[in-house]
Symmetry: C2
Subunit: 225 residues, 2 copies
């Protein structure tokens, strides 16, 4: 089994989607060989029929997209602990929320730091592609840090209210919904040097619990903290 | 079994929380006696130790709060179809999202119409309490209709993206997550005469399917449509 990942300077894993998949794999007790990919060698992913990470190769199966990988793992490794606890539909809604709302806010917060840890040869590509998507330069993003932080904290309100009542988003134990949201926090942890959450925020207590899972899978990663 | 509901002029049920409970009860195949309560006779709820609807009385059990009622029904009627499909934790996050984000936006949209269908004797209470919460008069709310509509449609984006991929929020069949979000749409249907969703929105197709459930439980209710 192989997992193709985006790997930036010093082998740093920043992609929230790769992080979702790494947590899902660990939940299923799987430990694939990791294949680092840079922005400039995405043609190594051509075999998958698209150019985005993560891509999981398991025997003859080639699966891209973190949601599809989670669904594949749930079916193919149904004997291992469940990612969805039988409620895959509801998990999709949280996945869509995380993509659109959480990562939409974190995109503002994490883009400057992602630029900083991108290999020098890829920095022009990174800055240009973000400018084409948003009309903003990396320095424009840097100037929006306070707004990005405010927007990120506000977007997390439903998660905050949930975690005020139970230890994990999925309930008493972590599952896909937690890994999905944690992917965004790993993006922040690996690219943003500031404090995303205020002291006393129940989301921060949860984040610390998540960092400890699977022998510190998240905590031991190269980070800005 | 008795369900205490807020009932406005002509017996209209507007509360999104009561609607959630009515759908959950129907999902479990239950059909309690409905007890109408007006804003001015909330002291009829004193036996429940609080003053908000819905309140469910089932034998010796008295349960208030639509989330707690859903959890109670899931446990006490575990032989009937499941509301959570085993993933109660994840459902709580959708409940929190609906309360904070969906109903936060719909509060702007639905308050003027709710005032209009409130019994004349309760109109001063209704207007005054909304003014105390928000600093806005009913006419202020009316003037914000375009903004409220825009905010509501935007807030629904994660639901929209989910329903582009599967027929119900819970997946192939409706469950708690659908009833939770539908509660807000029933509030709009019973108080707002305009069109909440744009033509072609997948959320509108879902809403139509939801209105048909349980022999038209939602569709047959007194509405503004």
């Amino acid at each position: 089994m192989k997992l193709y990942e985006l790997s930036l300077s010093q082998g740093r894993t920043v992609s929230p989607f790769v992080w979702r998949t790494r947590f899902c794999l660990a939940h299923k007790g799987l430990n694939p060989e990791r294949v680092p990919i840079s922005y400039h060698d995405k043609d190594q992913l051509a075999f998958s029929g698209q150019d985005r990470v993560p891509v999981l190769v398991d025997g003859d199966e080639v699966i891209s997209d973190s949601w599809k990988i989670a669904c594949y793992l749930e079916d193919a490794y149904s004997f291992a602990p469940s990612l969805f606890e039988g409620a895959q539909g509801t998990a999709l809604m949280i996945n869509k929320w995380a993509d659109h709302v959480q990562l939409g806010a974190m995109f503002l917060l994490c883009s400057p730091g992602t630029y900083d840890v991108t290999q020098d040869e890829d920095k022009p590509y990174f800055a240009q592609s973000r400018y084409e998507w948003t009309g903003k330069t990396i320095d424009d993003f840097r100037a929006m840090e306070d707004e990005a932080l405010k927007r990120t904290r506000s977007a997390l309100e439903p998660i905050r209210q949930t975690l005020a009542e139970q230890p994990f988003i999925a309930g008493d134990a972590p599952a896909f919904a937690d890994y999905c949201v944690m992917g965004g926090f790993m993006w922040a942890r690996t690219t943003y040097a500031g404090q995303v959450l205020e002291d006393g925020d129940p989301v921060e207590d949860w984040r610390q619990r998540m960092l400890d899972l699977f022998e510190g899978l998240g905590r031991n990663a190269l980070s800005m903290e």
